[in-house]
């Protein structure tokens, strides 16, 4: 089957429904999500921002081994979680902890790996959320597999797979698009183009007209969206999910956003970008514009804002208590899950560790 190029081409400009000043975009190409969806998104944005800022603070205090903040990218985080049903699967990266929490994973579990646990923290099956992936773009193929299996099994599942702009240069990104297209898998790829891969700017990643255009060669339609406009994200992702669920195949969505903070707390972003570039993006903040819009439409007042903020505060307080502990994980468990049944060698090695540790304790 050959596909009409026009159907694959992303719109010339990123879809935007609420502009950075909080005004409805005239002649928008999509319908605004309903009030309830936008209010829910606003609560989500507020919470996601608090998660980011609290986690960054905990990383500075040494409570987290590392934190890759999604401050500035909260609209993507929130929309990614909000467009999913209980049947759907989320495939997040290391930067998507806020989305994982919005998906329903408890902070105490979601942050375990960042705290220094050796495992993924939560149960992926329980939350239909894959372990956060660090090896770039690898998770995209897993998303295709989950989606394809769901189709074979007659399940209504759609997989939403996240990655960054840098990850689109990896071979696995391209293989995932191609496999998804060939198998017509119900999967949506959301690229959070935050303009940098650590220090490397987008211009060194790709000279394609846009990252959304990368789908064309594989027969995957692309779409571009203002990644700081949660309304646009909900609309575009919602459509893509519905298309996929209806059996119309995969879609690639590129969200234009910005990583407001260093790559992680260990990074020194002054080495590769200027403060005024960051300041420019602060004016496109995803929270501020939705707040303005909601107030103008009498959907938000101070009392409601206070309630939303209180909920976020409560979550932040839980993060402080849950993630403050120095609980050391049980070493014996290191040998329990390498295989379904530990090999004879692992059984021996677990005994060696127990012996080493008991003698260490005796020394104390």
């Amino acid at each position: 089957m050959t596909r009409d190029l026009d159907l694959l081409l992303p719109s010339p400009h990123p879809v935007e429904l609420i502009d950075p000043t909080g005004q409805t975009v005239a002649e928008a190409t999509r319908e605004l999500p309903d009030d309830a969806a936008l209010l829910r998104a606003f609560a989500g944005l507020t919470t996601a921002r608090r998660i980011n800022d609290q986690a960054s603070a905990l990383a500075r205090q040494g409570r987290l081994a590392v934190y890759p903040s999604s401050h500035g990218q909260e609209a993507c985080q929130v929309a990614a979680a909000q467009v999913l049903t209980d049947d759907d699967w989320l495939f997040p990266t290391y930067r998507d902890t806020a989305a994982v929490v919005m998906r329903g994973v408890d902070v105490a579990e979601a942050f375990l790996p960042l705290q220094g646990a050796w495992h993924s923290g939560y149960d992926p099956h329980e939350h239909k959320t894959a372990p956060q992936a660090t090896p770039l773009a690898t998770q995209l193929l897993h998303a295709v597999g989950v989606a394809h299996a769901a189709r074979l099994r007659g399940e209504p599942t759609v997989a939403l797979a996240l990655c960054g702009d840098g990850a689109t240069s990896e071979g696995d990104f391209h293989e995932a698009l191609n496999f998804a297209a060939v198998f017509r898998a119900p999967v949506v790829f959301l690229v959070q183009n935050n303009q940098y891969a650590i220090s490397v700017p987008l211009a060194r990643q790709s000279v394609a007209p846009s990252l959304a255009h990368k789908g064309i060669g594989y027969g995957v339609p692309g779409e571009r969206v203002d990644g700081n406009d949660v309304a646009a994200l909900l609309a575009v992702l919602g459509t893509a999910m519905a298309r996929a669920r209806a059996g119309e195949g995969p879609q690639l969505v590129e969200a234009h956003t910005y990583r407001m903070q260093p790559h992680t707390n260990a990074d020194d972003s002054r080495r590769y970008r200027k403060d005024d570039e960051v300041a420019g993006w602060a004016e496109r903040d995803p929270l501020a514009r939705l707040e303005t819009w909601l107030r103008q439409h009498d959907l938000l007042d101070d009392a409601r804002l206070a309630a939303v903020t209180a909920d976020a505060d409560q979550l932040a307080a839980r993060m402080r208590t849950e993630l403050a502990g120095d609980a050391t994980p049980e070493p014996a468990e290191l040998f329990a899950h390498v295989y379904a049944t530990p090999t004879p060698q692992l059984v021996e090695q677990a005994a060696v560790v127990a012996d080493e540790l008991s003698r260490e304790d005796a020394h104390r």
Binding site: W118, T134, L136, D172, V200, Y272, T328, L334, L346
Partner: protein
């Protein structure tokens, strides 16, 4: 910016020594080019390439799109066409997308072309644990490369060797996988920048001893030295051999050392099963059997994925695990 003078003694960290080696090689030979992820403006996540773009321009040291297979594959082509690429893999586990290029092409090109095409290139890989890193940032991946015929595999344990070995690796006509123990990046040491290059393939006795020989490489050398120090206080004299080069393997130095003591323990971070440590035990046993008073033992990592970072101390062989292995060398029988 420091000068690129190649003479004189200086106190340098291993990171600085590696940076110096890159600079000297780039200054000496226009065909040396450095590329990878974040090696330009940022200077690499460990700052090993700090200042190279500023000093030599962005055709000599540059960032690539984010694709390890692409980086190594392009380096193969550049090496085929007169250049000496030195590429950086950001972390051990992030070299895996390049595995096909490394094992199928980097390692085999000379042999496939009966020596007509050589690949003078270096693949630098920060590796192993001990820095509190999270998952995928602490792998000891040396066995994969050492197992692949056609690759030299080198790993320094101090700043001076890092400097000399990297210069030698860049000068080598064959591809070198240059494994940098990241926990030693910040260890300072006096480096003789004018010292003659030892070439690749020679181990070195780091500490003399008469009772048993500890054989270590890269991140495990300081552990072996510390264990020898503790053992000395307990009245046991341990010799320490630093391999420096895994491939080629210095059978001569290692076996002479083991024969002199009659007992040996291999120390390495990697999971012990089918590892470089296994190979060392096999070689020593085959060659020194009649000089051995006890089976050669290993103090190595367990056969589990690296448990970063809260439990990394459980996985990493420390002084106690080394001395436990030494204790097992059948002392009561001699």
């Amino acid at each position: 910016m420091t000068s690129t003078a190649t003479t004189g003694h200086e106190k340098l960290t291993m990171a600085q020594a590696l940076n110096r080696a890159l600079r000297e090689s780039m200054a000496a030979d226009d065909s040396v080019v450095v590329f990878g992820e974040d090696v330009g403006a940022l200077g690499g996540v460990f700052r090993i390439t700090d200042g190279l773009t500023a000093e030599f321009g962005d055709t000599r040291c540059f960032d690539t799109p984010l694709a390890e297979s692409g980086i190594v594959g392009m380096a193969v082509g550049m090496a085929m066409n007169g250049m000496r690429p030195v590429v950086e893999m950001q972390f051990d586990a992030f070299a895996y997308p390049a595995f096909e290029q490394i094992t199928s092409h980097v390692a085999k090109m000379r042999n496939r072309t009966r020596g007509k095409v050589s690949l003078p290139m270096v693949i630098r890989i920060p590796y192993a644990g001990g820095i509190g890193g999270v998952e995928h940032h602490c792998d000891s991946s040396e066995a994969y490369y050492a197992h692949t015929p056609g690759l030299h595999v080198v790993t320094p344990a101090n700043a001076a060797d890092a400097h000399r070995l990297l210069r030698a690796a860049i000068a080598s006509p064959d591809p070198v996988v240059f494994m940098e123990p990241k926990k030693l990046y910040w260890t300072k040491e006096e480096v003789d920048l004018g010292a003659e290059l030892p070439g690749i393939g020679r181990a070195m006795i780091r500490r003399e001893g008469t009772d048993a020989t500890l054989i270590a490489y890269g991140p495990s050398v300081p552990v072996a030295l510390e264990a020898a120090e503790v053992a000395a206080q307990e009245g046991r004299s341990l010799q320490v051999v630093d391999l420096r080069s895994i491939v080629p393997f210095d059978d001569e130095t290692v076996c002479a050392a083991v024969r002199s003591t009659g007992r040996a323990v291999v120390v390495a971070e990697a999971p012990g099963f089918a590892s470089v440590a296994s190979e060392i035990v096999a070689r020593v046993t085959e060659r020194c059997f009649h000089s051995l008073a006890a089976p050669v033992r290993r103090a190595v990592g367990f056969d589990i994925p690296f448990p970063a970072p809260k439990l990394e101390h459980v996985q990493l062989p420390g002084v106690d695990r080394v001395l436990d292995a030494v204790d097992d060398l059948q002392w009561d029988l001699s």
